[in-house]
Amino acid sequence: MGWQRKILRVNLTEGRCTVEPLNMDWAFAYLGERGLASKYLMEGMDPKADPMGPENLLIFVTGPLTGTMASTSGRYAVVTKGPLTGAIACSNSGGKFGAEFKFAGYDLLIFEGRAANPVYLHLVDDQAELLPADEIWGSSVWDTDAWLKSRHQDSRLKIAAIGVAGERGVRYACIVNDLHRAAGRSGVGAVMGSKNLKAIAVRGTRGVGVKDPKRFMQATRDAKAALRDNRGRQEMTKLGTNAMIDAMQEFGGLPTRNFHAVQFEGVEKINPRAMMRTHVDGHRNLVTNKACFGCTIACGRIAHVDPHHFTIVNHKEYWHASGGLEYETAYAFGPLVGVDDIDALTFAGYLMNEHGMDPISFGGTLAAAMELYEMGVITDADTDGVALRFGNAEALTVMAERTGKFEGFGQILGLGSKRMCEKYGHPELFMGVKGQEFAGYDSRALQGMGLGYATSNRGACHLKHDTFAEDMEDQSGNGKAVPCKESQDRTAMVDSTGVCLFTTSAWGVDEFRAQIDAACEGEWTNERLLEIGERIWNLERQFNLAAGLTAADDTLPKRLLEVPAPGGVAAGKVCELDKMLNEYYQVRGWTDDGRPSNETLARLGL
């Protein structure tokens, strides 16, 4: 109940699929999704293994609530060792794919080894087959999706796939499902490509049950009512997550031109108001909003690029609507690279979904390349003749396509910002942590965010903690360690349930507990759930330490530690990471060099 109690293990080297029972001890200790797969990863591979080698495991995993009537029950995660970071990678996605393989009867799909030739997995309930992918190797995600549905005469297949970027090892290549949702970060798509696995096409007719249906329906109904009445949720429904851009602009935490500035003069051209503006010729960027499986928020956007825009005026194949701007894409393709052309941003977003790349990391890499170009370190001779100046919309869209297809300078951009900056002798221009590029928040303005970025187990990430309220209230490093640690544990728990993090706009631990307790065997308390979160966090830390990361990697670039914010509410401030980090290790029950103490490990059963 809740869980399907079944996993599919796919040995790509031998071309064999086997069904195994789910390890229920692990399910009870780690819950599901992020936590459960991290345990399988830790027990199933050597953390020192090459992320692009056959020893890396690639795990697709759902939570016990995935596929139920709980709101936002469409979530699944991809867990592996990340090629971008060399650390544990847990990339979360929505859409319909995760629920579908849960309905097929599986909690996890584990891919091991490497196929000798390109293959895809076709999975319909009990029937699992690895089939040749020669005809789609070299195709985009969107072409692959169409080909598979046609090949199997089944328009109801749900598909997760990589594009050429993943095939060719772009370090931040992602896995796209349902055309415009993605397990986006840390290069999980490159792992899939390294295994010669092109796609997973799944259909499920089995259904998901719960322990106490009547109580479950009451709990989910109450939780949905809380979500319905919540104003933060209403913002996401009506405006999408890009509503954040106006708040960050006013606050002065909006990273601009590779973190040279914290406010961007072009915000009014790319914010939600701009997305909803109707032009004289009737064109409007925003078409409608859209939900993932089970979701009553519907933060997703569907957009239209202006057909007269230079990017698509001669490309009819892009005149259709597709996934529109959410905050991180708007930030990474807007202020971070200085571009204020909403159609260029939207089109570049399409390309991310079509070719399978993380917009945050692509934008971060392009921003660093622009800085190198403006410094004269690289020139037109390096960049295929394209002027990589901040603000050049054509640079954004041309390079997005080049990188997606792994052509020309796109092959350099495909290294990711850290490796590219090192290649050109300017490692200080990489703006991220542990090899992963920052999200749209400048931690000179949001101090707790800085601590979260520095300590997130998957590299710079804005989603693994939540110190928003504290950061808005107090722009010093004081009092950030405890809320950072507590929210990290809570978020690790939420990431393991199968529902979406955005429910935390309205739900506290009580709401999660009520739904989990009605769905899953056993007795679930708030304490038990939060302890699971803490256990997951420490397990991920253990994986990273075994992989060779140390406390020295819990740091931020000099630009944030030494160069004061030039404006905004935190004008003149740097990120006070040192002050926060020591306190954080103590609060965590870790040693001074960032290792979980024996006492902490014993308490958590690690």
Binding site: T68, R203, T205, G207, G209, F293, G294, A298, G300, A321
Partner: protein, 157 residues
């Protein structure tokens, strides 16, 4: 009062809570594959349209059934399948022009929307009002209202 489901695709976000609610109500599990209402996505997800049985007054399925397993519920107006009488011949599925009645491979009988006996769960579950449950004689009322507003120059701006 006889009531009817009204579907407004413009409000549909493709969340599929309706499919979950339907399968849960009828089968006791969450299983969209066994829902009697389905959402169809077009244009890269730009449009989503829920669709189900329209409860025809002179129903093809009812007329086609050789064992009279499909009858009218006179309270709700729904055409309901009696699973005990149904032999699973599927002629009704062939006859229905809308594809709204389908064979249930687990029960070996056909299944269709029965309006949940007068309290349709899809409408109850829909978070956006894309599916509503209204007077069967006025299903176009709100759509007409939208156009009426458009005719008044003072109101439409």
């Amino acid at each position: 009062m006889e009531k009817s489901l009204v579907i407004d695709p413009a409000k549909c976000t493709s969340c599929l809570q309706c499919e979950l609610a339907c399968s849960f109500e009828h089968e006791g599990v969450f299983n969209p594959a066994r829902s009697r209402i389905w959402v169809f996505e077009l244009e890269h997800g730009a449009r989503a349209i829920p669709f189900t049985c329209t409860q025809c007054a002179e129903a093809w399925c009812m007329r086609a059934c050789p064992v009279e397993a499909i009858t009218v519920n006179h309270t709700t107006g729904a055409k309901e399948v009696d699973a005990d009488l149904c032999v699973g011949c599927k002629v009704c599925a062939i006859a229905c022009p809308f594809g709204a009645i389908n064979y249930d491979v687990e029960r070996h009988v056909v299944a269709k929307c029965d309006l949940c006996g007068g309290d349709p769960q899809c409408a109850a579950a829909c978070p956006t009002g894309a599916i509503t449950w209204v007077d069967a004689g006025q299903t176009g009322y709100e759509r007409m209202r939208a156009w009426a507003v458009g005719t008044d120059a003072a109101l439409s701006h």
